[in-house]
């Protein structure tokens, strides 16, 4: 692809929505209040696994101020499945998960809902609802769920894919398998083999803004929903189906969104708010508490993985076996398939066997979390590769370079790679000053890779020109990380106008063309392409208008950086002088006289076609007395294809790194034997704070993605993948201990250091 030079892309304008955000004016989900609004509250199950014997709502219904009470039996049952963007989700599971029918399958699952004039009344009324349960034993780990005689969560669950063992009366929801070559021969030919088992805990996306919505269902069945969401069209389609409304009569207006990371692709409240509103004939506002967010929204899977890799003395990897078991939570659908596909993605390996298991357990149904499935699998593989490097006495980056995939290589998951930046990245990491900087006492350094496919799918965009030559661009993608700024920049680039004179906005499900979710690292790539195409349509129309003004053929009009250029010989109509180039504004001013308003629109379905690699270098210092680890230096490298707004690209890399560091060092759901989460708050669910981290250096690598006019690859998800392995490898270097269980929190570190010292003393 030829090197295109850009005027706007690659610069760092201040984001258009910025002033509203620094002044507190920007309206997030809970910031709206509608006239006549009621408040909704949920009664949640105190048991992790139980049959619902009876629900008596009479005391709640009798309370003054209570306007509607809802139980699951009142919602329609649906076998439909909607495309949640990139994966099909069983609507029935989503519906049952958000409001139980005959069984509860995780602690905190909602069993009834109340709408009342104040939140206090709603909560009190909910507490007066009497539910009798027949309590069952919960299963809380993949081992418990798959053990013979384990309590079965769903009688009708049938294992998808290739099952080993019975496909019914099981908690094994799915099994996938990938293989290549001859595994046994491969291991026979290996000079060195490393094998380890790993465990990672349930962790939450940790978005600071809890789920919130207001729903208003009118007497005619037409409804409006205001919600914080990554996918307004998902909210519309899923809420309508679950609440029993016609989606043709439902409009969803997305608020600003306070973080999502995949956790706001699913709906939890909106269908309930709609159903309550329909009963109460008033709008209903529902906002989750932080406690509810932890207990009853989808975190990502806890996992068990088993990795065995064999290499020759010269570092060539000849065989790999990866076995994954991921907790799906109470309903099927963990990201284990993606984990299986990412695990070996960076490597050319002639013989491998990957098996992946999706297992239901009595925990909340998992939801997507930034590169879903990849971090856990790559943590395991990158740890083993690091051990291999040690055994081979090879530099860990050199070992990876020796086996790295490149353009034309077949990915472990099947298709061949197009142009990718993995080798470029590895070479950049190797020569980065961080890699050779000296280390201090109790410090260690680790490196690890990450991979994500990066999404495509449905996007639509409209670009409308004003008579003053300014432009408005509308898409249906809520802006989580700065995509409005990037879209404005694209329009400015394509039309040659000032980025400040482009107004980017997020439409609702009526004003924006159908668009898949903000997620999957697809907005800048796929929606961006739609924006570029829509702007290009405006540009073509401007040339046609100029042609009318100059009375020439449209093919004769040229375009140059925001101006239409007349062909030689063209004359001004009034004066008869030679025609002069016109700016966008000048042509736009005449739109009424040349054919009417100028609107460009585009829609597309893009394949997943811009896979991304990241590699992180981490220095950690471990206090041997307290077991506390401190990240002392961190560098994130990533191939992003083309950085439209480098500040927000850097931001994605830094934010993903921080989440991965938290996952590696401190974050975990702590469950008691009854399946109740014991640390459902930000104090004890310990995410990184400012004093935990250093500045996070970023290196943006740009190996253009040929499918995108600017070369853009998705950037948002990859950066959460490398940190788990990078931190674990740094801990190995600092302590001599290969941690195979996350998080590497102080008690665990102390326990392992003490054990290692006991062994050393004993020997």
């Amino acid at each position: 692809m030829s090197e295109r030079t850009f005027d706007v892309v690659g610069t760092r304008p201040v984001r258009h929505d910025g002033v509203d955000k620094v002044t507190g004016r920007a309206a997030y989900g809970a910031d709206a209040n509608w006239p006549g609004m009621l408040h909704g509250a949920l009664l949640r199950s105190p048991h992790a696994h139980a049959r619902i014997v009876s629900i008596d709502t009479s005391a709640a219904e009798a309370m003054p101020g209570v306007k509607a009470v809802l139980v699951g039996a009142e919602l329609p049952d649906t076998n439909a499945s909607i495309s949640l963007g990139e994966a099909a989700i069983e609507l029935r599971d989503m519906s049952h998960s958000m409001l139980a029918r005959t069984k509860v399958v995780y602690h905190g699952q909602a069993v009834a809902a109340v709408a009342a004039t104040t939140l206090d009344i709603a909560k009190e009324a909910a507490s007066k609802i009497v539910v009798t349960y027949d309590v069952l034993r919960p299963v809380l780990t993949v081992d418990e769920a798959l053990a013979p005689g384990a309590p079965i969560l769903h009688d009708d669950l049938v294992t998808k894919g290739a099952a080993i063992g019975p496909k019914t009366n099981t908690n094994l929801a799915a099994r996938y398998e990938f293989k290549r070559g001859d595994l046994d021969a491969g291991f026979d030919a290996a000079d060195v083999v490393v094998e380890r088992e790993f465990r990672t805990p349930t962790v939450h996306q940790g978005y600071i803004e809890p789920h919130a919505c207001i729903a208003r269902c009118g007497e005619d069945g037409r409804a409006v929903v205001w919600a914080t969401t990554q996918g307004p069209f998902v909210v519309r389609d899923a809420s309508a189906a679950i609440a029993g409304l016609d989606p043709a009569h439902v409009k969803v207006v997305p608020s600003e969104i306070g973080g999502g990371f995949g956790g706001k692709i699913v709906v939890y409240l909106e269908p309930i708010a709609l159903a309550l509103s329909r009963k109460a004939h008033r709008p209903v506002k529902m906002v989750m508490t932080r406690d509810e967010v932890f207990r009853a929204t989808g975190p990502t899977s806890g996992t068990k993985t088993h990795v065995k890799i064999g290499a020759k003395r010269d570092g060539t990897i000849v065989a790999a076996k990866v076995s994954l078991w991921y907790e799906a939570g109470a309903f099927r659908g963990s990201p284990v398939g993606a984990g299986a596909m990412c695990a070996l993605a960076p490597y050319r390996i002639p013989n491998f066997f990957i098996e992946a298991h999706d297992v239901v357990v009595n925990k909340p149904k998992v939801a997507a979390y930034r590169a879903p499935g990849s971090p856990m699998a790559m943590f395991a593989v990158e740890s083993v590769v690091d051990e291999l490097a040690r055994e081979l006495k090879m530099d860990p980056i050199d070992l990876r370079l020796k086996n790295a995939v490149d353009e034309g290589d077949q990915a472990a998951y099947g298709p061949k790679f197009g142009p990718i930046g993995l080798k470029t990245l590895l070479r950049a990491a190797k020569t980065h000053p961080h890699w050779s900087a000296p280390l201090g006492p109790n410090q260690g350094r680790g490196f690890a890779l990450g991979f994500w496919f990066n999404g495509g799918m449905n996007s639509a965009a409209t670009v409308t020109l004003g008579a003053d030559g300014s432009a408005a661009v509308v898409t249906g993608n809520p802006d989580i990380g700065g995509t409005r700024a990037a879209q404005a920049m694209m329009v400015a680039e394509e039309l040659g106008i000032d980025v400040d004179r482009v107004r980017p906005s997020v439409g609702d499900t009526d004003t924006a063309g159908y668009t898949d979710v903000t997620g999957g690292s697809r907005v800048c790539f796929a929606t961006g392409m739609a924006v570029i195409n829509a702007a290009a349509e405006v540009r073509e129309e401007l040339k046609r208008r100029a042609a009318k003004i100059w009375n020439v053929s449209p093919d004769a009009v040229a375009w140059e950086k925001g101006r239409v250029i007349p062909p030689t010989g063209a004359k001004e109509t009034k004066s008869g002088a030679d025609a002069q180039p016109m700016s966008v504004a000048q042509v736009a001013a005449k739109m009424t006289h040349t054919g009417g308003p100028i609107v460009g629109r585009a829609s597309l379905y893009a394949p997943m076609a811009g896979p991304g690699f990241g590699g992180h270098i981490c220095d950690v210092e471990v206090d041997p007395e307290t077991g506390r680890s401190r990240i002392v230096r961190y560098t994130a490298l990533q191939d992003v294809g083309k950085a439209v707004h480098p500040s927000y690209v850097e931001g994605q890399m830094q934010g993903g790194a921080a989440q991965g560091i938290g996952w590696a060092l401190n974050e975990e759901y702590v469950y008691n034997r009854d399946g109740v989460m014991e640390n459902a708050g930000f104090l004890d669910y310990r995410m990184p704070v400012a004093s935990d981290l250093p500045f996070i250096d970023t290196v943006i690598i740009e190996v253009a993605n040929p499918l995108h006019p600017y070369g853009v690859r998705g950037v948002g998800e990859v950066p959460i993948v490398p940190p788990l392995g990078a931190v674990a490898n740094a801990m190995r270097s600092a302590t001599g201990v290969r941690f195979t269980q996350l998080p590497m929190s102080p008690p665990r570190v102390l326990e392992h250091i003490a054990a290692r010292e006991a062994v050393a003393v004993g020997a």
Binding site: A162, A368, G414, W452, P607
Partner: protein
């Protein structure tokens, strides 16, 4: 003929066959042909993504196949 590769996990529904040569103009035709040749595979294809010459379609439909396309079936992946 496009060559369609199945992940090894689906081989149990095709009697062990992991690669199939199919002459089809579009993904939908290719999937229909797979269902015809391997009836037991049909249910497993409801939730599949299709990669054509490296590009993964999470919603496989009427996208065109070339005569020499390299096609892989992969599990549907969700982003976050």
């Amino acid at each position: 003929m496009a060559i369609v590769h199945l992940p090894s996990g689906l081989a149990q529904f095709t009697g062990g066959v992991e690669s199939v040569a199919i002459d089809a103009p579009r993904i939908a035709d290719m999937l229909a042909e797979l269902r015809r040749r391997f009836p037991q595979l049909a249910d497993q294809l409801d939730d599949i993504a299709v990669a054509v010459d490296g590009d993964i379609y999470a919603d496989p439909g009427y996208q065109p196949l070339r005569a020499d396309s390299d096609v892989h079936l992969v599990p549907r992946i969700a982003g976050g």
